[in-house]
């Protein structure tokens, strides 16, 4: 597995599919690891549960994190990521339907790097994903 992979945390399969399509359409060819809820996301990041034994030195270059999820929601996941030394510096982009100030402000407080509202119009979504990929995967220098 390539080092520069993306972790997509999204419970809605439609959104997973559309996101993957948008990435592909924008020629972002990085590997995308998809997990369906917050618990799985943490399992992946720390090599537990289903992902026990995963090589932990291979951390995703970008985490796309949905907020509204069963079991463990996105804000909790973000909090855990920022508390753990191993994942503290990973770029996390919140990708959500919510347009609530509370969510946005809370996300930034907890250390989200970006906050993107998923537009209804797929074309707009494509645009957003394109810029996202361009910035975080190409322009941004990791610490």
């Amino acid at each position: 597995m390539e080092n520069k992979h993306i972790l997509l945390v999204e419970d809605n399969p439609d959104d997973v599919k559309l996101t993957l399509r948008a990435l592909k359409k924008n020629n972002i060819l990085n590997t995308v690891v998809v997990v369906e809820d917050g618990v799985e996301a943490l399992d992946y990041l720390y090599g537990t549960g289903r992902f026990a034994g995963r090589e932990l030195h291979m951390m995703p270059q970008l985490i796309l994190l949905d907020l509204k999820m069963p079991k463990l929601d996105g804000l909790e996941v973000l909090q855990r990521i920022r508390m753990d030394e191993r994942t503290r510096l990973l770029p996390v982009v919140i990708l959500t339907t919510s347009n609530e100030d509370v969510d946005r402000i809370e996300s930034y407080k907890l250390g989200a790097n970006s906050y993107i509202r998923k537009p209804v119009d797929f074309n707009q979504f494509l645009e957003a994903v394109q810029q996202l990929g361009l910035y975080w995967l190409v322009l941004n220098e990791a610490p």
Binding site: D15, L18, T97, D101, K118, V120, F122
Partner: protein, 864 residues
């Protein structure tokens, strides 16, 4: 003087007694002396025989130096008799100092000593002879018992006599002192008497004169009375005094003394202590009485003279008086008439002033006056309330029919009318020949003289009073004066009647007002008694106003035995101020606002209070209703707010959750279009395109709805917001996004408002975006933002454009969500923008409204 004589006799008797006693004493002393000398002789004899001890009938004893009786004769034995001759008894014969005598024996040589020896019932005189050669003493004793007894008797008799003499002397002295004191008192009494008292002797000497006499006439110093009183050598011829001595009877006479004063003299025969005749004379100074008497006599003479003179004068005057009386009778007749008039006036004044109905009494009085004046008619007119005519109030000398004809008079064309109008009296004499037109009525009665006076009270003309006569053609001055006077009285009485009427009317008006007030009014005195209540109060108490008077307010209103704690009347009585309290009283059937106001008399003393109770039951009930309604309303509001919040939350989550499937529809439609568009015919592609467009529109709707709900949910801050710069920013972004459009922006500078910057941005964004949208088809688009001021100074902000405009009929719809006046194809939009604006403006407490005209543009106004 009798007492003095008695005392003197007593003294003489006493003195005689003393002398008798003294001579008896002398005799007794002599007897004793003889007796004593005889006893002594016997003693001598006895002593002579004592030298013969044995034979000696008197006791003889010899005593040795040792004190032992070595010899005693038979006499000793005889004397001692039955007592025996033992040693002890014999030693009774020895002198008490025998031991001493024996011890001295050697030293003295032959010598005799005398001693007395006392034995029971006997006394012996003992001669102790010392006999040195025999170392013994011889005692010769002889009995002196009898002598001793005689001496003792003599001494006792003498003592008794002396005591007797002392007692008698003391009594005598006491009597003498009393006598002297009495004499002194007597003389003092004589000295202080305000009359003189003298004793005159037959030889004209003056043995006694009291102080009064001495002070007036000096001391006689042995001279005879006529010598020292009058300096005469012979007794006075006028003197009556000494005649007393001739017949021994008292005399009274008057005497003029050498001091030229008059004395009333009283002479009494008097016998001196020595029995010689004296005259006791007493003189009282009667000079003043004498003078007064003389003056009295003179006065009487003078008065008698005067009486004689007056009598003659009176006789003259009497004659004159007889003449004057005749004249006076004439005057009195005139006076009588005048008096009658005065009496008439006084009577009428009294009647008019005291009568309850002075109007009615006018007739009685005027009839009397009429008769007195010798008139046959009187008319009394009063001006009626209109002031335009007069009514016949009282009359006499007319038939009823005739009176009815002239019951009302106009001011013109009659004498009475003229008088009433001008306020001046008119006297018509010789009526038959008068040329005055106004006299025709008077003439028609057949009167010959007629006088009419105006009734005037305090400058106000009330009517007229007139008198007429058939007998003579004129009135004299007295007649007119009487008429004038009676007119004045009647005027006062009528005025009083009118004033009383006014007062009564005012009272009635006040009472009517008092009774028609719907409030419950009671006038209370200081003892909580009801003075008066109005009808409303009485009705509530189920009584008439009269029945309520004098009742206790707390008893009859509250059914209590004392004023209740809240009683405002008590408070007003205590502090003299008005008090109000709300009271619920079942007995009066409701709630009342009770106000007590102090009632003061003219001296500002409190009489009680006016107690006004206003029934506020209705307003209380209303208040209660309003309160309940308010509570309900508050509940409703609370419920509504809760429902609203739920609704907001619901609409939010719905909108939110709707987006995800929509995104799927939109996304996969796009996938279909892109990946499988080639396999679809034109109709299929069109359908797909419509799905995509619809999802896009729905996405916008959802976003707008979320905005709208967020407007209501976000917390508002109040801050100073520069609306001008907000507007410019919005315009700038619109221009950036639509580079093909040309719009003339007119944005007023420095428009500032208080509000929430975020929400106001939403407002301007919506409004300017709307204008931008609706001017899309306008080649010379113009959008304006500014502010004006209303008449009341409130700022009105506006956004104005010259776009499509709208029909004002639908202006009200524009601010409701989803309401649009244009199709989406004409102008795209969701119909939520203005609803959001309205909600924000309302949250700021402002108003928003819109004006427009199709094809000419629209203006949205708002206040904050």
């Amino acid at each position: 003087m009798m007492e003095a004589t008695d005392s003197r006799k007593q003294i003489e008797q006493l003195q005689g007694l003393i002398e008798e006693l003294q001579s008896a004493n002398r005799e007794l002393t002599e007897v004793n002396f003889t007796l004593l000398s005889r006893v002594r002789e016997q003693e001598e004899e006895t002593r002579h025989f004592s030298s013969f001890p044995e034979l000696n009938p008197n006791p003889v004893l010899e005593v040795a130096l040792s004190g032992e009786v070595i010899f005693h004769n038979a006499a000793v034995q005889r004397v001692l008799g039955d007592a025996g001759l033992d040693r002890g008894n014999i030693s009774a014969f020895l002198p008490a100092d025998m031991d001493l005598i024996l011890r001295e024996l050697g030293k003295r040589g032959e010598e005799t000593l005398s001693r007395e020896i006392v034995l029971p019932g006997k006394v012996f005189a003992a001669t102790v002879q010392l006999v040195p050669q025999f170392s013994a003493a011889r005692i010769y004793a002889y009995d002196i018992t009898e002598r001793k007894l005689a001496e003792e008797q003599l001494r006792r008799a003498h003592d008794e006599l002396e005591m007797h003499v002392r007692q008698r002397t003391a009594e005598l002295n006491k009597t003498m002192e009393a006598l002297a004191a009495e004499q002194r008192r007597f003389l003092e009494v004589l000295d202080v008497l305000p009359v003189y008292v003298v004793l005159l002797a037959a030889d004209y000497h003056v043995p006694f004169a009291n102080r009064f006499f001495r002070e007036r006439f000096g001391e006689s110093r042995g001279r005879r009375c006529f010598e020292y009183l009058f300096g005469r050598t012979e007794p006075c011829e006028v003197c009556e005094t000494f005649k007393v001595l001739q017949d021994n009877r008292p005399r009274e006479w008057e005497w003029t003394g050498p001091d030229k004063r008059n004395y009333a003299i009283f002479d009494y025969p008097f016998t001196d202590t020595d029995g010689s005749p004296l005259i006791l004379e007493m003189g009282i100074d009667v000079t003043v009485q004498k003078q007064a008497e003389t003056e009295l006599v003179e006065h009487r003479h003078h008065l008698e003279d005067l009486v004689r003179q007056r009598t003659s004068q009176l006789e003259e005057a009497n004659e004159q008086l007889q003449e004057e009386i005749f004249e006076r009778e004439l005057i009195e007749a005139a006076l009588q008439k005048s008096n009658e008039r005065l009496a008439l006036l006084a009577e009428s004044a009294g009647l008019l002033l005291t009568s309850e109905t002075p109007e009615g009494i006018v007739r009685t009085i005027c009839e009397k006056v009429m008769r007195h004046l010798g008139c046959q008619l009187f008319l009394n007119y009063l001006i009626d309330e209109s002031g335009q005519r007069m009514r016949l109030n009282a009359y006499a000398g007319l038939g009823e029919e005739r009176a009815a004809e002239i019951a009302w008079l106009d001011f013109d064309l009659t004498v009475c009318g003229a008088v009433a109008r001008e306020g001046r009296r008119m006297v018509i004499e010789d009526v038959a020949n008068s040329t005055d037109e106004r006299v025709h009525l008077v003439r028609s009665f057949g009167l010959r003289a007629y006088a009419c006076h105006p009734l005037i009270y305090q400058g106000r003309i009330l009517g007229t009073l007139s008198f007429g006569t058939f007998d003579r053609s004129s009135f004299d001055l007295d007649d007119l004066e009487l008429m004038s006077a009676i007119t004045g009285q009647v005027a006062i009485a009528i005025a009083r009647k009118l004033a009383e009427g006014a007062v009564r009317r005012a009272k009635q008006e006040w009472e009517r007002t008092f009774d028609s007030v719907p409030d419950l009014i009671a006038i209370l005195d200081k003892e909580h008694r009801i003075v008066r209540v109005n009808r409303a109060m009485a009705e509530r108490l189920g009584a008439t106003p009269d029945q309520c008077a004098d009742l206790n307010c707390y008893q009859c209103v509250h059914g209590a035995s004392r004023p209740p704690a809240f009683c405002p009347h008590s408070q007003s009585l205590a502090d003299g101020k008005a008090h109000s309290v709300e009271v619920h009283e079942e007995r009066l059937g409701g709630d009342f606002l009770v106000t007590t106001t102090p009632l003061l008399d003219e001296n500002r003393e409190m009489l009680g209070t006016v107690h006004v109770a206003r029934d506020i039951s209705e307003s209380k009930r209303n208040e209660e209703k309003i309160r309940k309604l308010n509570d309900n309303l508050k509940n409703t509001i609370t419920q509504l707010a809760a429902a609203n919040r739920e609704l907001e939350a619901f609409s939010y989550s719905v909108s939110h959750d709707l987006r995800a499937p929509l995104r799927s529809i939109s996304g996969f439609s796009q996938v279909l279009q892109e990946d499988y568009g080639d396999g679809l015919d034109e109709e299929g592609l069109d359908a797909l395109g419509r799905i995509i467009a619809a999802t896009r529109h729905m996405g916008r709707l959802i976003d707008d709805l979320l905005d709208l709900s967020r407007v209501s949910r976000t917390e508002m801050r109040q801050e100073r917001v520069n609306l001008s710069s907000l507007a410019r920013r919005v315009a700038g972004s619109l221009v950036d996004r639509n580079p093909g459009r040309h719009v003339d922006w007119l944005i007023a500078a420095d428009v500032v408002a208080e509000g929430d910057e975020y929400l106001l941005t939403v407002v301007l964004d919506n409004l300017l975006r709307n204008s931008f949208k609706f001017t899309a088809k306008q080649p010379a688009a113009k959008i304006e933002f500014g502010v004006t001021e209303q008449a009341d100074g409130e700022k009105v902000y506006f956004v104005k454009d010259n776009g499509a405009g709208f029909d004002m009929t639908y202006a009200g719809k524009l601010f409701r969500p989803f309401q649009r006046l244009h199709t989406v194809s004409e102008f795209p939009g969701t119909g939520i923008g203005l609803a959001t604006v309205k909600r924000i403006i309302n949250r700021h407490g402002g108003n928003v409204w819109i004006e427009g005209e199709p094809g000419k543009g629209a203006v949205v106004f708002f206040t904050l």
